[in-house]
């Protein structure tokens, strides 16, 4: 039984490695066809940009065929637009952004990763500053990142629901994957939630803290697999996560939280002494309410984005040198950075959870005493 499990794990690992080697092989071939150094540089830039962006189809890799056309391996995803009624069609109609898609007599074209409404000829008009002036329908498409978020959500649900069941069956003793996850969950409870939020209220926030920790961690780790989908490096995703923390902080804020915002000095000073101070203090405190979640969102986004840029640039070195030495060096550097990125993936999830817990602590704290601080 155990051997079989181990065997399965090994096969999966080997497949993953083979896949990575395979996809890198394709990249090398593509790069060979670039003649000049300048074109190569542009292509590398575009490749990195392309990797960092969200996309309307789940493209694993592309192969350049002998007749010069590219063959894309992957699957199309549904496009959902709100444009005088719901418009749902498959992203295969766009042919990887190369053609105009037609649905119910409306024509759409992808430009710079955004969908615009066009006429049948698919021409996009630009103004002087090179922004498209075409109408932009509301876009609720299931993009690559959304697929990844759904998959992570499903994985987390199955994993932790299964763990909960196994705990019931074994009388509260961890088994299987629970032996790996139990110390992490306990760490979040005993070293993040309890000291920061306080013994009295921490229970209420545990569900959110655990969810956000594992969600960010898993997404970060998925970003490092050969699939390499940069979900947490997408500012919309981190914005949504930080918004949740912001809402929870402010909606669970107790009396003392609001008092600290609007009357930070309390009874330590008569009102005529407080007035000139508060003209400056209260705006700063209010600004702080928004800066806290904003710094959360920027930190996670920037860290993951920067990590991916560094990794892709190091792999890009391979095409710059075009020699065995360069490839070896690029591989070694990329390998070292990947190891650091595994640490960063965990660290960023930890920091996000930790700071969220800290902010919840501000919201939930209650003073027994009346002195100012």
């Amino acid at each position: 039984m155990r051997q079989k499990k181990l065997f399965n794990l090994l096969t999966t690992l080997l497949l993953l490695i083979a896949f990575q080697v395979n996809s890198q092989h394709e990249e090398t071939q593509e790069a060979k066809e670039l003649d000049t150094a300048e074109a190569g540089k542009e292509a590398r830039k575009e490749y990195i940009q392309h990797h960092l962006l969200d996309s309307y189809d789940f493209n694993l890799f592309s192969i350049k065929q002998e007749d010069g056309t590219s063959k894309h391996i992957g699957s199309p995803l549904p496009i959902i637009l709100w444009d005088n009624g719901l418009q749902i069609f498959s992203s295969s109609k766009f042919h990887h952004g190369e053609t105009v898609a037609e649905n119910n007599g409306n024509y759409y074209k992808i430009d710079h990763n955004k969908i615009y409404k066009t006429e049948a000829d698919g021409v996009i008009h630009y103004d002087e500053s090179h922004h498209a002036t075409n109408a932009k329908p509301l876009d609720f498409s299931i993009t690559k990142s959304v697929v990844m978020i759904f998959l992570t959500g499903l994985l987390m649900f199955l994993l932790f629901a299964g763990l909960a069941k196994s705990y019931v069956k074994n009388g509260g003793i961890a088994s299987g994957a629970g032996r790996f996850f139990e110390p992490i969950v306990l760490y979040i409870r005993d070293d993040i939630a309890r000291p920061n939020i306080g013994e009295k209220h921490y229970r209420k926030y545990m569900g959110y803290l655990l969810t956000i920790f594992f969600f960010i961690w898993f997404l970060n780790m998925f970003g490092l697999t050969p699939l390499g989908i940069n979900v947490t490096g997408n500012i919309a995703v981190t914005f949504a996560l930080a918004l949740l923390t912001f809402l929870i902080t402010n909606f669970t804020g107790k009396k003392d939280y609001w008092k600290h915002l609007f009357d930070p000095l309390g009874d330590s000073m008569p009102w005529y002494g407080k007035l000139p101070l508060y003209i400056i203090l209260i705006p700063i405190e209010l600004l702080g309410v928004f800066i806290k979640p904003f710094s959360l969102l920027i930190r996670l986004y920037a860290n993951m984005q920067a990590g991916h840029i560094v990794l892709m640039s190091l792999i890009g070195l391979m095409f710059l040198f075009k020699s065995w030495f360069g490839s070896g060096m690029s591989f070694m550097l990329a390998f070292a950075i990947s190891l650091i990125e595994i640490l960063v993936a965990l660290l960023q999830a930890y920091i996000f959870t930790m700071l969220s817990a800290l902010y919840f602590g501000f919201a939930a704290e209650e003073h027994e005493h009346n002195e100012a601080h």
């Binding site: 920037a302 920067a306 930890y350 920091i351 700071l355 800290l358």
Partner: protein, 59 residues
């Protein structure tokens, strides 16, 4: 561009100082290792955030 470089230098010095001070603190009180590490990581993350904000403002 030069500004971004300056910010990164500043962030480097800042995080270096935090790390060094944390080492000192751990050497002085090894039993407080966990608490010091947590505080160090938070401070380092805050400074790092500023650095990234500057980098993204420039690029």
């Amino acid at each position: 561009m030069v500004g971004a470089g300056l910010v990164v230098i500043g962030v480097g010095i800042g995080i270096g100082r935090i790390g060094g001070s944390a080492m000192d603190a751990i050497a002085r009180q090894p039993e407080a290792y966990g608490k010091i590490q947590t505080a160090m990581l938070i401070a380092a993350a805050l400074i790092e955030g500023i650095g990234f904000a500057a980098l993204f403002a420039v690029s």
